[in-house]
């Protein structure tokens, strides 16, 4: 009898809890969630971003998109709001490195349409696909790559970056308006899994120097320079009927399997979204974030032959296997989808309908990397070498105009021009550091329930993200890199190693700026707990 009595009260208690769960989902403190996607695939050739050489797109492998998540808690002008936009782009121009500013183009359009949303409530991140349109500059293509767009396209229609940026901003802003309009009461659940996707791409050699990529099958190879983070931070969103509406997937890997493609592509996120929708429903949205992963990539550094055999045995051979292949993308998608679907039942049973929700944006001044005269001299010397190479190649084209009939004829000449410019920026940065030793960057910190999201505009080396995760008071900390135009932010160890990514031309900030970023981000996070 006592047992029955206990059972009755337990059931009553659970009913009240359950009832509250639904009724609370209707009140003003409830989380409101809206989703949409915007197709930002251009309808004509564009420059593809991500390599030293220019690539004029030669078709579309799969669409490049922006996924938009609108979150609101409370009512009216004082409600807390976050608009999260994840774009299949290599970076989000924000005025930090050049005049282009896709981020503000989007913000301006959104706040014009929805005045209650503030610019600082809009966060835009890139997945770092290297097969998406170039948005880093509005300068002429000749100024960017040393060859005009007209020449590259051989007179055929093509869209310049200065035209593509407003094109994308229009589409994304429409998406935001749609997501905002569709927001409905909902809940979220917080999940943590593992998927081995991002792999450290820096190889430390026995003589003390490091290199990015290269061959580990060499007697001079000592070890992989840094760490890897195989955690999969997940946030599932539900409608009041407990139907999954979308998922944030945060993984410490840029999406750059197809990094040499001339066809536009969202890279492995395309395959992941297709596979996830197949498992969880066609209407499910997937918002992809890259955690700190400046020294990571999906490319296999050790054991690639064994993995390629597994890809073949999985039946992916027809799509090509090995590095840069679609089979590799599918293999990655499988790792992610297996984990997301595995956690699904637990997530569905643990929905938080009224998570604590706070969003703060702060302009954090970070120390620029202190460069030496030797750094400048070396970079200038390299620039001169590339100038000579560029001049030579340019003359060859002038003397032999028929060259441009050859497909992708512009590859070498654009490499030489990019490297020439890369050398020159070191001197500019050296001078700038003297007069503006600090550079302000946007850091967003968003608390949702027991989780926190912390953004930065960099390709942030993994150690910094790990420091933030280790010291954060949140149960789960989502670091989101590339919420801006992105430059590498390397560690001291990596600068000593001297690999691409840690050299002066690749960086705006150094370890001092990195330490400041960690400290400032943690101090904002701490105010929310």
């Amino acid at each position: 009898m006592i047992f029955l009595k206990h059972q009755f009260f337990t059931l009553l208690f659970l009913s009240v809890i359950s009832f509250q769960g639904y009724t609370q989902s209707e009140n003003e403190d409830n989380l409101k969630v809206g989703w949409s996607t915007a197709d930002i695939t251009p309808d004509m050739p564009v420059l593809v971003a991500g390599q030293f050489h220019a690539r004029l797109s030669e078709g579309v492998m799969d669409p490049v998109t922006a996924t938009i998540l609108a979150l609101e808690s409370g009512e009216g002008t004082n409600s807390e709001k976050t608009i999260w936009i994840s774009c299949d782009l290599v970076g989000i121009s924000d005025g930090m490195r050049a005049t282009a500013n896709l981020r503000d183009e989007i913000r301006n359009r959104v706040i014009k349409a929805i005045p209650s949303i503030l610019p600082e409530q809009i966060i835009v991140n890139a997945t770092h696909t290297h097969a998406a349109p170039y948005v880093a500059s509005t300068a002429s293509v000749e100024d960017i790559y040393g060859v005009s767009l007209e020449q590259m396209a051989d007179g055929k229609p093509a869209m310049s970056p200065s035209d593509y940026i407003p094109f994308a901003a229009d589409k994304i802003a429409e998406g935001v308006i749609s997501a905002w309009g569709k927001r409905k009461p909902g809940g979220m659940s917080l999940g943590l899994g593992h998927a081995v996707v991002g792999l450290n791409r820096l190889q430390a050699l026995k003589h003390g120097k490091s290199r990015m990529y290269g061959n580990t099958n060499s007697p001079e190879f000592s070890h992989i320079e840094g760490y890897e983070d195989h955690s999969l931070n997940l946030m599932y969103f539900w409608d009041i009927n407990k139907q999954l509406t979308g998922i944030i997937i945060n993984i410490a890997s840029p999406s750059q399997v197809s990094e040499h493609s001339y066809e536009l592509s969202a890279d492995f996120w395309h395959d992941t979204k297709v596979a996830l929708r197949k498992s969880l429903g066609d209407s499910v949205y997937v918002l992809a974030q890259a955690s700190s992963a400046g020294d990571q990539s999906p490319h296999v550094m050790v054991g690639s032959k064994a993995e390629e055999r597994m890809q073949k045995l999985l039946g992916f051979a027809e799509e090509g296997t090995g590095r840069g292949s679609n089979a590799h993308r599918k293999y990655i998608a499988k790792q992610i989808v297996d984990e997301v679907t595995d956690l699904f039942p637990v997530m569905k049973a643990n929905i938080d309908w009224q998570p604590e929700f706070k969003h703060e944006m702060k302009l954090v001044p970070l120390s620029r990397r202190l460069l030496s005269e030797e750094d400048v001299a070396e970079a200038t010397k390299e620039a001169k070498t590339w100038q000579a190479e560029y001049d030579k190649l340019k003359a060859e084209v002038r003397d032999n105009p028929a060259m441009i009939e050859t497909p992708r004829w512009y590859k070498d000449i654009t490499i030489s021009y990019s490297k020439l410019r890369r050398g020159l920026v070191v001197s500019e940065r050296y001078e700038l550091e003297k007069v503006q030793p600090k550079m302000p960057i946007e850091v967003h910190v968003v608390r949702i329930g027991d989780a926190v999201f912390a953004t930065n505009p960099f390709e942030l080396y993994l150690d910094y993200g790990m420091q933030m995760k280790a010291q954060s008071p949140a149960i789960q900390t989502f670091i989101v890199q590339l919420t801006g135009s992105g430059s590498y932010l390397p560690t001291k160890r990596s600068i000593e190693g001297g690999a691409y990514g840690a050299v002066p031309a690749s960086t705006l900030m150094g370890p001092k700026g990195g330490d400041e970023l960690v400290e400032e981000t943690l101090s904002i996070i701490n105010t929310m707990w």
Partner: protein, 499 residues
């Protein structure tokens, strides 16, 4: 003429059969659970287990390659739920097998440990070990008695597997599973600490890499029944390292689930990849992991086991139709002479102080022996090594390695708790399609990297290491040289055919 000379030269040095051969396979599982109570190995303080949570097993696979009825080469893998394999234990087992299977080359027996810290003590002779507990004379299973039980049981299993070997097939596969975590925390002052707190301002990074490849071999008999599988995970089985009960750690739930999935007779061999700087313990994001376990009503042990099981099942499904019954098979055992880590005078003086301190504390309170005796012997070994080093600064440490080729896979064993970077070096430079590095196939001591030695901390200090970074590279190079030869020979045969 040049071609002829090349052909003659090749013919001269090719003394191993190079063509693919039939494999004869047998498998068994031996119960190596101790009689209770028993002293457990793995912590500085002595633990006496009164109860056992799980049995302890040794998984066994016997392999013979044949050309018709002629036996060509052999290997016997024995994977044990033990913390390491002492030299004496291995020798006693080989001696016993030699008695039971006349003519069998017992040096082809490879005995490895999963590194569970809740299995019996194997050594009690200070002349042979640097880590001795003050085990009571009465009331606790004697170390030599446990070794006798182990030898009897495993020899039975080897005899059985060998006797029942039949023509079979094999395949290999890999999947990724995040199980082991690097456990060495680096602080901003450059020092490293094993299991150091990462939730502090001074935390800089984790010292080394992690290897999340899970490699597996599957063995079938002629009737296409799965006989055994070996699963190589770069993470020691020490989730339960502080328990005072006998426990096979994560291999127990993994084995149970795999047996229920693939058949109770299937032998599961747990191999540990190069993982001297790894453990199953999370170094950060602990709150998130704990919450997920609570929500899913799972323990960390469940989590580990599920990751491995899922990886094995995925691998099996992918590779099960790519079996090979006729493969190239080679096995070479070699005793390497590795340069020993040099003990500095400062290290000697520091160790001497610790030994004296332990001696004094035990003299005042004999009950402290259970806490301090092993520590005293551990530091005491440094004194012995220093004195020996004074007499012979060039002394080397003899270490047994095995290198095998099975089809497109290479297997390379070593006796150490080998830091992961060495395993990565071997895998990166191996000519095999897939390379299994198996540590703790012998007496385990840490073999740290140069980077780790510079950072210091337990596992990279002189007390922890008989061999240092220089010896680690010798191990890597020699292992690769043997692997190279196994594959170069194949290339030579191709060349020979071409000529």
């Amino acid at each position: 003429m040049v071609r002829l000379c090349m052909l003659l030269a090749l013919t001269f040095w090719l003394n191993v059969p190079l063509q693919a051969n039939d494999l004869y396979l047998g498998a068994a599982t031996a119960d190596i659970s101790p009689k209770l109570p028993v002293a457990l190995m793995g912590q500085f303080h002595m633990r006496i287990a009164e109860t056992a949570d799980t049995p302890l097993y040794a998984g066994i696979v016997a392999i013979e390659s044949r050309d018709g009825q002629t036996g060509l080469d052999t290997a016997v893998f024995v994977s044990c739920d033990l913390v390491y394999i002492s030299a004496r234990l291995r020798q006693e087992l080989r001696d016993e097998v030699a008695k039971r299977i006349p003519g069998f080359n017992v040096n082809k027996i490879i005995v490895s440990a999963t590194h569970t810290h809740t299995a019996p003590v194997l050594e009690d002779d200070l002349e042979e070990s640097s880590f001795i507990y003050p085990i009571p004379e009465e009331g606790v299973t004697k170390v030599k008695d446990y070794r006798a039980l182990f030898v009897r049981s495993v020899a039975d299993g080897i005899e059985d597997a060998w006797a029942n070997r039949s023509k079979g097939s094999v395949t290999w596969g890999m999947e990724r599973a995040a199980v082991g975590y690097n456990r060495r925390t680096v602080y901003k002052d450059g020092t490293s600490v094993m299991y150091g707190n990462t939730n502090k301002d001074e935390f800089q990074n984790l010292e080394g890499y992690e290897d999340h490849d899970m490699n597996a071999l599957f063995f079938w008999n002629e009737a296409d029944e799965l006989l055994a599988m070996s699963v190589d995970v770069a993470c020691p089985a020490q989730e339960f390292e502080h328990k005072t009960t006998v426990n096979a750690d994560y291999w127990h739930p993994v084995r149970e689930k795999l047996k229920s999935r693939f058949g109770q007779k299937v032998s599961v061999l747990g191999w540990i990849g190069a993982a001297g700087d790894q453990s199953p313990h999370s170094m950060y994001r602990k709150a998130g992991l704990a919450r997920m376990q609570e929500l899913a009503q799972k323990t960390r042990m469940d989590d580990i086991a599920e990751r491995i099981i899922r990886a094995v099942e995925n691998t099996y499904e992918i590779v099960k139709n790519d079996r090979h019954s006729n493969v190239v098979f080679h096995h070479e055992m070699e005793n390497l002479e590795l340069p020993m880590r040099i003990i500095t005078k400062e290290e000697y003086i520091e160790s001497e102080k610790v030994v004296k301190d332990c001696q004094e504390q035990i003299a005042v309170d004999p009950n402290k022996a259970t806490l301090l005796y092993a520590k005293m012997t551990w530091f005491g070994d440094v004194l012995k090594r220093y004195k020996a080093q004074q007499k012979n600064p060039e002394a080397t440490y003899s270490s047994e390695i095995h290198v095998l080729r099975i089809g497109d896979a290479a297997i390379a064993t070593n006796q150490f708790e080998l830091f992961t970077d060495y395993g990565i070096r071997i895998q990166a430079r191996s000519k095999a399609l897939q390379t299994f590095v198996v540590q703790l196939a012998g007496p385990g001591t840490y073999l740290p990297t140069e980077k780790a030695i510079a950072g210091g901390g337990y596992s990279a200090v002189c007390q922890s290491n008989v061999v240092g970074a220089e010896g680690g590279q010798v191990l890597v190079d020699r292992t690769l040289a043997i692997i190279d030869r196994f594959w170069d020979e194949e290339n030579a045969v191709r060349l020979k055919k071409k000529l």
